[in-house]
Symmetry: C2
Subunit: 237 residues, 2 copies
């Protein structure tokens, strides 16, 4: 009994995705993380909100499956997509309800970043609604735990990798970049020091253009370094 000869009929495999976007908070007006949830139309947890996802189609790559979920839910392509974790606790399907334990689900969860302007243009799927990520209703299954973990990963990772571009258009100012960081981390950052640190990271290239139409000095626009083939992969967690 060795390796990959695995066939276990009782375990099914799903792929879910935590999709993040930035929008103003309804109360404070400050930029905040939002995510879309889907209302369940079946037991268990019927009527509750849950992460978008679905069964893994057999020809699909795991990441492609997550992309398709994103497409179905928000009509968008991910600007950034990374595997979060595989959740397989046998109890996770029937935490509250007591129904036959035969339907065990292992979920491979991805997290994704999308741009708010794209979200605004796109059409939400059926039973889809957006929520403030730090103020969610009770979720189905263990999805609260999953979202918390995704939030932690996003907040950790933005401090040491250039993923903020997932929230930004191709060209952006350093102030816009800083505002993304501030929104995600819920902090205020020193503009001067942030600028230096961002430029020192060597991931920004000046486009030469400036943003016009401000009531003050026009800020320079930057792009993210294309670099080696844009690895939306698993490296360097």
């Amino acid at each position: 009994m060795t390796i990959e000869s695995a066939i276990d009929q009782r375990v099914s495999l799903a792929v879910s995705t935590v999709i993040f976007a930035l929008r103003p908070h309804p109360d404070s007006g400050l930029m905040t993380l939002w995510l879309p949830l889907v209302r369940r139309i079946r037991e268990p947890y019927e009527g509750q909100w849950a992460l978008p996802g679905g069964p893994l189609e057999s020809e699909d790559d795991l990441a492609s499956s997550a992309s398709h979920t994103l497409q179905r839910t928000t009509g968008l392509e991910p600007r950034y997509l990374e595997q979060l974790y595989a959740f397989g606790n046998p109890e996770r399907s029937h935490a509250l309800a007591d129904h036959q334990p035969s339907d065990r689900v292992v979920s491979i969860v991805y997290w994704a970043l999308v741009r708010p302007d794209e979200v605004a243009r796109a059409v939400d799927g059926d039973n889809v609604e957006w929520f403030v990520a730090d103020d969610l209703p009770p979720l189905a299954f263990d999805h609260t735990e999953i979202v918390d973990y995704a939030l932690a990963r996003l907040r950790a990772k933005i401090t040491y990798t250039p993923i903020a571009h997932g929230f930004l258009p191709p060209e952006f100012t350093l102030t816009e970049l800083r505002e993304v960081h501030e929104a995600v981390l819920r902090t205020v950052l020193d503009p001067a020091n942030f600028r230096r640190q961002a430029l020192a990271s060597k991931t920004l290239i000046p486009t030469g253009n400036c943003l016009q139409g401000t009531s003050h000095r026009p800020p320079a626009l930057f792009r993210f370094e294309a670099g080696p083939p844009t690895s939306t992969t698993k490296e360097r967690r």
Copy 2:
């Protein structure tokens, strides 16, 4: 088509584990990372070496399944165990051989640390052999890629989390701790600075005891902080 209602008969689920231990390198005698592999006794890749693993048993937690693999392969309990990644590329089963593409396998891979002295005492399973982690034969499936990723994760993580204890007995000297880091990272570290940095991390508690029987000043022994319930979890990747 929403959430967890997933049942895809063609996809099967396996759990594999990359098991690390430290032993002297056969040539240089320096401490080096080793890992056990299992020789495949079936097609595809019959006769080749592969990561130990097996199908997910339906009552089992994912991490428990990885533990069982470890038990079967080396007869040991893991000192450290963490999920690495879920590999689900549809091509990964039949990279070389061309056989029916119906048997698709998604592998959830864990990595584990075990102590060399325990390894020495334990009995290896059938068809199990230990190899120098940085000098492996060609492996079955995509297991070479998996091991490379596990190595990268171990080397990254040992620099910012106290996982070195996975290679050490309950009580150890700072020199032993440093030697673990040196072996994993393949570097030489300044003893004085390493000591300060280790003590500054607040994860070490002096036992008051000293190691006797050296031909010089007896070094102090330390334990790792038990701290909040020893989370061998997914936090802080």
